[in-house]
């Protein structure tokens, strides 16, 4: 027994079993080796227990054996594989595994990976039961729609074409076969529609901006970093390969073919099925119970022209009106003649069916024989024609009239259609319809509630005299309507609310004039638009001021001549003269009396005088209450009377703080020299009231002034008003203090309305703040007066309320 050394392809000595041609094992068929048998090193199982080794067949096989096995390791699958689902899932998993191996855009588990549906949804399950495969479109819309549309077309065709029965049958038979074809076709299309592509995302890894190409100017480096396959490390990326508009993500379209073998098998199977005449497991019955019910289209009469005709008497009459039967002498029998005539009239009015009715009746009675071509037939036809003709004549105007306005049937139309006698009404003017006497009586009876209509004609567009003012034009039209159309007079017109009575009256005059002009123009058939437009006070109302209105009101007829010149004295301020390098024309002259613009000045005097009266009253009332205070007041009044100049100078002192806060009154600065002649420096009752407010406001104003950074101008060292004030008040205060040494005296004074201001001064005890307060006080008073006078001023200057409104109107327009 020669030791046959069996070696494998790689030269290794192999154990060679008996089945494969010999036995060669170990060292010369021993269990040992050349060196002999070496026992295993002992390992204590106590310390490290031998692991339980799971053995598999692979532990005992080498590569060769495995290769021999064909690599097909049998595995058990958890899922029963219908329609190759697992394969698809496998492919999917593979793809996702690939995806996972790629660097992820979001580090860590991606939400998609986290959120995995636990089971397939019921919809998917159902679809799969119905034969849907993963990755397929659910419905092949194209094939289906094609089939559907074809079917529809066929239906329509069948419905339209009136085919004979056997033809129909043929048709249906051919139809059936075609249907089969179609079904098969559609199925083919479904199977051939293939799989939906799976898009694999290559996430963006670099930090470049979207669309940025780092190799733009160095294309030779591009290949080295280009992701994706197909381009080797050293291959150059051609210019044409570049995708300029590529987004940051590179899509790689890979078709995951799920079951290539099976689909082809399926199609083969289907083809075979089709050949054999059945489809899958269903076979089309040779003769089915179900028959497609077909309805033939309704038969259309040959004379149908698509329009409905009413068998109205007019229509029938029209039919007859064409041919006029010859004139026939009436039959001798009068009763027959009457009967014929009556019958003809009846038939003409009611229609043909009456004739038929009579005909039917006439079978019984011999009187109606003329209907059937008996005695007097020709006369009847003639009479009928005549009646019809008459009827048409009566109806035609109504019919003609009603035709264009058929959509809106008026009472008159209806009346004419029904053959009613139209009532004599508005078409004629009342003056002609009603006799003159009656008219007068009516007028007197109706009185003012109704206005008399004169004519119904509207004013043509071109004759609108107030075209410039739509509102006024509207009012004018309303006026015309009232005048000409009559009817109930509208008590209050909406737009006149804003107008004054005088304004309204004037406008009414304008309207009358314009209406007259229009009347005249109508009479002479030649209207001169200028004559209307040139009406006094019509056209120039548009942008006119208050004086204008007044003058136009006065000179209603003759237009005032413009331009008009007036001259007044005007006093420029000295500084203006100086700045204009002109010698002041009024230098050294006393202030002139103000030109009386209006009654405003006198009113101003009036207010002053009333103020004085008030003062007197107040002063008298205070005397019994507080002798000391009233005494001071008296002295004050005396002193002010003595030196008005001092007062004036006090008034003129500018108080910037006040102006800064209440700057609205500042425009009256120029009036000051004029006003201060009248303004009484003694505190008025209003002033006293304000003083109370001022007490509260004083601190606020001061702080506000500081905040605004406005300086209250410093007190001039020797100022008469201050001296005056101190001389008046300080003694009082001192006296009171010296008398009581308490503040209670002040309270007493406070209770006295008129002396609050004084109290203030006393409280300040002659300090500088108190003098400021005084100033404020004076300014306040003064400005209040001015404010009042100013408002008066405005009112009066505007002249009258209507002028005011006109100005307002004008202003609003301007805005």
């Amino acid at each position: 027994w020669l030791a046959v050394v069996v070696r494998d392809e790689e030269g290794r000595r192999r154990f060679h079993g008996a089945f494969t041609g010999g036995f060669s094992a170990g060292f010369y068929n021993t269990a040992g080796s050349k060196e002999g048998w070496t026992p295993q090193t002992f390992t204590s199982s106590r310390k490290s227990r031998a692991e339980h080794k799971k053995q598999s067949i692979y532990n005992f096989l080498d590569e060769e054996d495995i290769k021999d096995m064909g690599g097909n390791a049998l595995e058990t699958s958890q899922q029963y594989d219908t329609f190759g689902f697992t394969a698809a899932e496998h492919a999917r998993k593979q793809a996702s595994k690939e995806q996972n191996e790629r660097p992820s855009a979001i580090p860590g588990p991606v939400p998609d990976e986290l959120v995995v549906p636990a089971t397939t949804s019921i919809g998917v399950k159902l679809l799969m039961k119905m034969g849907w495969h993963q990755g397929r479109t659910i419905k092949d819309a194209h094939a289906d729609s094609l089939y559907e549309s074809r079917r529809e077309a066929r239906k329509a065709f069948l419905a339209l074409s009136g085919v004979s029965n056997d033809e129909d049958q043929d048709q249906i038979a051919s139809q059936k076969s075609r249907v089969d074809e179609n079904v098969a076709e559609s199925f083919n299309k479904i199977s051939a529609s293939g799989n939906t592509p799976v898009y694999v995302l290559h996430p963006k890894e670099d930090l470049h901006g979207l669309g940025f190409d780092p190799f733009k100017h160095a294309p030779e480096f591009k290949g080295q970093y280009a992701p994706g396959f197909g381009i080797g490390a050293l291959e150059e990326l051609g210019v044409e390969d570049e995708d300029i508009y590529a987004s940051g993500f590179n899509y790689e379209q890979t078709e995951v073919d799920i079951e290539p073998s099976k689909t082809s098998g399926d199609s083969k199977f289907k083809l075979e099925d089709k050949k054999r005449g059945f489809f899958l497991s269903f076979k089309i019955a040779s003769n089915s119970e179900y028959k497609l019910e077909r309805f033939h289209p309704p038969e259309i009469p040959a004379d149908f022209d698509g329009r409905h005709k009413f068998s109205s008497p007019i229509q029938t009459a029209d039919k007859f009106s064409d041919l006029a039967p010859p004139e026939v002498p009436p039959p001798e029998d009068t009763t027959l003649r009457l009967l014929i005539e009556g019958c003809a009239a009846m038939v003409a009015r009611c229609g043909k069916h009456i004739e038929d009715f009579y005909k039917e009746k006439s079978k019984a009675s011999p009187q109606f024989l003329f209907l059937d071509g008996g005695d007097g037939c020709s006369y009847y036809t003639r009479k009928l024609w005549e009646h019809q003709q008459k009827f048409i004549d009566r109806q035609r105007p109504g019919a003609v009239k009603s035709k264009p306005s058929s959509d809106k049937l008026t009472a008159e139309n209806r009346g004419t259609i029904l053959g009613e006698k139209p009532l004599d009404r508005s078409s004629k003017s009342s003056s002609s319809f009603v006799s003159a006497k009656e008219a007068v009586q009516l007028q007197s009876n109706l009185g003012d509630t109704f206005v008399k209509p004169i004519s119904l004609d509207g004013v043509p567009e071109s004759k609108k005299p107030f075209r410039n003012e739509p509102a006024k034009q509207a009012r004018f039209e309303q006026f015309l309507k009232e005048k000409y159309q009559g009817g109930l007079r509208i008590a209050s017109l909406a737009p006149t609310i804003t107008m004054s009575d005088a304004d309204r009256a004037r406008e009414r005059l304008d309207f009358e004039a314009a209406a007259d002009a229009i009347e005249k123009g109508k009479e002479y058939k030649a209207i001169d638009p200028l004559s209307i437009l040139g009406l006094p006070g019509l056209n120039e109302q548009r942008f006119v001021s208050s004086t204008q209105l007044e003058s136009s009101a006065v000179l209603q007829d003759e237009r005032p001549m413009y331009p008009q010149r007036e001259e007044f004295e005007w006093r420029p301020s000295p500084i203006l003269c100086k700045r204009f390098d002109i010698v002041d024309p009024f230098m050294g002259k006393p202030m002139p009396l103000r030109r009386p613009i209006s009654k405003m000045d006198t009113l101003m005097f009036m207010t002053e005088s009333t103020k004085k009266i008030n003062e007197d009253v107040r002063g008298s009332s205070t005397i019994p209450q507080n002798a000391a205070v009233s005494g001071t007041e008296e002295t004050e009044a005396q002193e002010t009377a003595n030196n008005p100049d001092i007062v004036a100078s006090r008034m003129q002192r500018p108080v910037d703080l006040y102006k800064a806060i209440f700057s609205d009154d500042s425009d009256d600065d120029m009036d000051e020299p004029l006003n201060n002649q009248q303004v009484d420096p003694v505190k008025t009752s209003e002033g006293a009231n304000m003083a109370l407010n001022r007490l509260v406001a004083e601190d606020f104003l001061e702080s506000l002034g500081k905040e605004l950074g406005l300086e209250v101008p410093p007190e001039k060292p020797a100022q008469p008003p201050n001296v005056l004030f101190r001389s008046e008040i300080l003694p009082t205060a001192d006296a009171s203090v010296s008398r009581n040494g308490q503040t209670s005296t002040f309270r007493e004074i406070k209770e006295n309305e008129g002396s609050l201001g004084l109290m203030e001064a006393a409280n300040g005890n002659g300090d500088d703040p108190s003098s400021n307060v005084e100033k404020l006080d004076f300014k306040y008073e003064h400005s209040a007066d001015i404010g009042r006078s100013h408002s008066l001023h405005r009112q009066i200057r505007n002249g009258s309320p209507e002028s005011d409104t006109s100005i307002e109107r004008h202003r609003s327009r301007k805005r």
Partner: protein, 341 residues
């Protein structure tokens, strides 16, 4: 009074030409009137409300609804400077005769006194109670006169620190639209239909009632005539001394806008804008329309004529500004022509 024949170069007194010769001359002069757009000054972001030349005619100022005043060189089309400070629309602007100061007014009731070079506001004159419509410097640039919607004309002193008016004229009965100043007079036109002339030297106020709201008044170059643009679509020429109406110019539309009017440098033609975008030229004496041209797609607010000829005395510039409702095309258009006299 105004010589009704066109003034000759240098204002040299020439014998009155025969009527025929005059018409011939007129027609030739009318040929010289600007009719074409020579330049567009664009930059305003809103309607342009006023355009004024400075005294020597080298620059022009514009102001508008975009609350800015802009300084332009109309001869080159250069936009020199923008003056921004107004809080509302700027309605009028005027430059001092020494070109150092500007004064502007508008909807914010204040009058801004600007330094041209630095573009800073030197002073704000307060006193008007509502919008200020027009503003002017006097001859010596010492006083600013303003006309306001508050029915007053106010004079402000440029030399003092005070921002209050030195004089308020409030005899007007409605909004004062325009003010003009001569050596000794203040002339203002108001919506109450009057043109009031305040003679400082005489201490007189002359009221010329025209019967129609006066939009704009403008003086002839010899200061003897007044041109008043009234809201009845009529421009009226008045003799300032007598108050007589010398002529009426019609044909344009002026019904709801404050629109300017002016005379040409030689006082031969009256220029007026129209609400339909046309510019009208009337012959002064006989008042026929000698030329019209469409300058803007919308209202021409401001035909502005170069008052003082530039040194070479041959360049003649018209600036017309416009109000555009749609605010689509906001620009000043300049029409210029060479005057060979």
């Amino acid at each position: 009074s105004l010589s009704l024949s066109p003034k000759k170069k240098g204002g040299s007194p020439t014998p009155e030409p025969s009527a025929r010769g005059r018409t011939k001359e007129m027609s030739s002069a009318a040929q010289q009137l600007p009719r074409t757009e020579s330049r567009t000054l664009s930059g305003h972001e809103g309607a342009v409300l006023a355009v004024r030349f400075n005294h020597d005619g080298k620059y022009c100022l514009s102001c508008g609804k975009d609350r800015t005043v802009r300084l332009w060189n109309p001869h080159t089309g250069a936009h020199v400077k923008t003056y921004k400070s107004h809080g509302r629309e700027v309605r009028d602007v005027n430059a001092s005769s020494d070109n150092a100061k500007l004064v502007s007014c508008g909807g914010d009731k204040q009058i801004f006194y600007w330094d041209v070079a630095s573009g800073k506001v030197i002073r704000k004159f307060r006193g008007h109670n509502s919008e200020v419509n027009s503003v002017k410097f006097n001859e010596h640039n010492t006083v600013v006169l303003s006309a306001g919607y508050d029915r007053s004309v106010r004079a402000f002193d440029c030399r003092s620190q005070s921002s209050d008016p030195i004089q308020t004229i409030d005899t007007f009965q409605d909004s004062v639209m325009s003010v003009n100043v001569t050596n000794t007079e203040i002339i203002a036109g108001s919506v109450d239909g009057t043109v009031r002339t305040f003679d400082i030297r005489m201490g007189r106020e002359t009221v010329d009632n025209l019967g129609h709201p006066v939009n704009c008044i403008s003086l002839s170059n010899d200061r003897n005539c007044l041109l008043a643009n009234c809201l009845d679509s009529t421009v009226r020429l008045l003799d300032k001394n007598s108050g007589e109406m010398l002529q009426e110019y019609k044909g344009h539309i002026c019904k709801s806008f404050k629109m300017d009017c002016c005379l040409t440098n030689d006082d031969a033609f009256v220029i007026g804008g129209s609400e339909d975008g046309f510019v009208f030229f009337w012959e002064l004496v006989d008042a026929p329309i000698v030329a019209t041209f469409r300058a803007h797609s919308s209202v021409v607010l401001f035909p502005c004529h170069q008052r003082h000829l530039s040194p070479n005395k041959d360049l003649h510039v018209d600036v017309i500004c416009r109000w555009d409702h749609s605010c689509l095309d906001l620009k000043i258009e300049i029409a210029d022509v060479c005057y060979p006299y």
